[in-house]
Amino acid sequence: MLEVCDLDLYYGDAQALDRVSLKVDDGSIVAIVGANGAGKSSLIRAIAGIEKPRSGQICFRGQDITGWESYRTCDLGIGQVAEGRQIFPSLTVQENLETGAMLHRARASRRRILTDVFTMFPPLAERRSQLAGTMSGGEQQMLAIGRCLMGRPEMIMFDEPSLGLAPTVVHEVFRAIRELNEKGMTILLVEQNVAVSLKLASQAYVLENGKIVMEGRGETLLTDDGIRRSYLGL
């Protein structure tokens, strides 16, 4: 579904991504793990079209989307749940969801998707007219995921979905991600929580200083000594 080849990204003179290549198959969960500042978020932002890569190629469903603006990639079906949730605090829950459904691809089926999102996250339905900024962190994360779903994406990129959430809530969020995947959603997951994301992922990449240093099946990486030492503290 998504193919990234030799992607280079710079912020001024600082190189954030160094010849990164990866592949996300239809219906899979692919995890990208790595320490803070390894370039995980930069990679997502480059794919989404928020940052412009200096070289390399990004293809989605066989179409070259390198350098596309983010409103075009979104309309192609690449959804994003950004880091830190980024909901709109002084809009209501329902208004937040509706802003997500205004892409061309989603506008017509808005009502149906809204029902789906409410079924998936019942607390959002209960709080539909509450201001989003007054909800708990976990509920805001649900809202961020729901808002992304409203755009009818074919692939969702999650950037640190567990960041700053209580452990029980983290569990909820990962349950939602697995559930989405079981329904056929392709997922690209960026996480610092290496143990959980490797368990979830069919395929995983380890990013270090902007470079992919290791790749393989999630479970395989989970048993790798290097990974266990560097990321799991074992």
């Binding site: 603006e69 980024q86 909901i87 709109f88 802003t99 205004m102 900024g133 992304c148």
Partner: protein, 326 residues
């Protein structure tokens, strides 16, 4: 509902009872309510702070006045030229700022800079009088002529009343369209808006063009109501501040805020002027100090503005919520 009906009736029959002074204050209130509404589109809805809205008022005023004086083109035609000129000016500033990612305080500075150098430009533009001022002929007329914007204060009152109501309805409608949703998303979190697939450049451009086009009419009205234009006055920074105080005090991002804010500020400012006159005092700058005090009071006691607080007291849900405190 009853309150609204009474208020509407009062607004409609006001000129029949009010003396010239009261009527001039009412016109001033409507004028600032209208311009506040226009500014609110950019800042309140889309989160782009303009501190140079006097630019659009001034350009609108000068374009329509120049067309009238030099070519005899009536204001009902001239207003379109004024609107187009202001939209072009807004678009130029917008392209410069938004294309190069200038936001927040730097965008505000840019808007001040443009207003300032337009003022200096007009100071030296002899064709429209330069710094000596530009004057429109005032002819005594027996009949009100709306299309020519010539007539009694009561006519000007009704023209501004219609414009203010129209601006209100237009903004209320905008807020409920896709454009309104997108603007609010950009205001709340520009990054998230972008991640959601909103073409932030396009919608910010739309905000500045609509806001500047609306402001142009305020300028046309100013030109034909006061009949004299001085670059020093109309383009000055303090004009821009006067425009934005209403919505800030009334409630940024709300529909009633600009109207309420303009009413409160104008009435109080006029009251102070009257009071000072009654005591025979003459202290320059007292109005500005008063504006400052009002602003302080609002920031301390009702940071979201008077309207949201009032709406809560009256048990109304304020439509078009402003940004949250802080």
């Amino acid at each position: 509902m009853l309150l609204m009906a009474v208020l509407t009736a009062a607004l409609l029959i006001l000129p029949a009872f009010a003396d010239t002074y009261i009527l001039s204050v009412a016109i001033l209130i409507l004028y600032f309510a209208y311009l506040g509404q226009a500014w609110n589109v950019m800042m309140g809805f889309c989160g782009q702070l303009s501190l140079g809205h006097s630019l659009y008022v001034g350009v609108g005023a000068y374009v329509s006045a120049a067309l009238f004086v030099h070519f005899g083109i009536q204001p009902w035609l001239g207003v379109w030229a004024a609107v187009l000129a202001c939209m072009a000016a807004g678009a130029a500033i917008g392209v410069l700022a938004f294309r190069f990612g200038i936001g927040g305080v730097y965008f505000a500075l840019l808007t001040i800079a443009f207003a300032e150098f337009t003022r200096i430009g007009f100071d030296h533009l002899r064709w429209v009088g330069g710094s000596g001022g530009f004057f429109l002929h005032v002819a005594q007329r027996e009949f009100n002529d709306v299309l020519a914007l010539r007539g009694s204060p009561a006519m000007f009152y009704y023209v501004m009343l219609v414009a203010t109501v129209a601006a209100f309805v237009f903004c209320a409608w905008l807020l409920h369209t896709r454009i309104g949703y997108y603007w609010q998303a950009i205001r709340e979190d520009p990054e998230a808006a972008q991640a959601l697939g909103i073409n932030t450049f396009r919608y910010k451009m739309l905000a500045i063009v609509i806001s500047s086009g609306m402001s142009a009419f305020g300028g046309v009205f100013f030109a034909f109501y006061y009949n004299n234009l001085f670059p020093e006055q109309i383009f000055s920074m303090s004009r821009s501040i006067e425009i934005i105080l209403g919505p800030i005090i009334g409630g940024i991002g709300t529909l009633f805020g600009p109207i309420l804010g303009a009413a409160v500020l104008t009435v109080l400012a006029e009251g102070i002027t009257e009071l000072m006159a009654a005591f025979g005092w003459e202290i320059p700058g007292v109005k500005q100090v008063f504006y400052g005090a009002c602003l302080l009071a609002v920031i301390v006691f009702v940071p979201r503005g008077i309207w949201p607080a009032l709406a809560r007291c009256l048990g109304l849900e304020s439509r078009g919520k402003g940004p949250r405190d802080g």
